[in-house]
Subunit: 103 residues, 2 copies
DNA sequence: TTAGTTAGTTACTTTATGTAAGTAAGTATA
DNA sequence: TATACTTACTTACATAAAGTAACTAACTAA
């Protein structure tokens, strides 16, 4: 008795955003372009998973990766237009959490 | 070098919403009160995980569980005020997905 | 030559999820 | 009386995802 009436786009979006750490990474990148180690320490995600998530987000066109061949190499991750479009959503989570959650 | 400057409330909210299936369950309950088997089939989550999630959501005060001692027993899950307050957020995901994702 | 940098990757362990069968409490059917 | 059928779960077991820590590449500086 399958009765999936849920919009497949919504389902895909939720599938992306409900991966562990993905939301936190995007939220952190809303501050501005950042390098790997900065995201790692501010978000508290392991390098193994961060590397995986950034690859996925890049493939989805949500995150941009820019290499600066300095020494040591600097790589900056930033949000694309598609990624920046998630800001209202993040603000809503912020609002909700401030009203309904206590620390 | 730990530099977690992220708001703990936001982090908790994201921790809740980024659990697999949680968002879909809430989205489905926005339609109205529903029983276990309806959520199970419409969302496509397994009974094992659905049971776990509904317990968590009830503990968080997001979902309400009401027992109707009919035969066979009917149990209806619905969103509390706190849960309903997540609607704008869900609408944002909907909007974003419709603009930025293709099926 | 040794040490130090960033941005990863690899191997291994622990946790989360999927799958399918089982349970409890009750009614209806043979 | 026995068997089957309902919902709402739970349990046991298998697989997938995430955590941890060590390792690598490419380059510079001491």
């Amino acid at each position: 008795m399958v009765d999936k009436s849920i919009c497949p786009r919504f389902e895909k979006a939720m599938g992306l955003l409900s991966q562990r750490w993905t939301g936190m990474i995007i939220y952190q990148l809303l501050i501005g372009p950042q390098r790997f180690c900065t995201i790692e320490s501010s978000v508290g995600v392991s390098g193994r998973v961060l590397s995986e998530r950034l690859k996925d987000l890049e493939n989805e066109g949500i995150v941009n990766r820019k290499v600066y061949p300095e020494t040591p190499v600097r790589i900056e991750y930033s949000l694309t237009e598609k990624g920046l479009a998630l800001e209202p959503l993040m603000k809503d989570i912020e609002k909700w959490s401030q009203i309904w959650l206590d620390v």
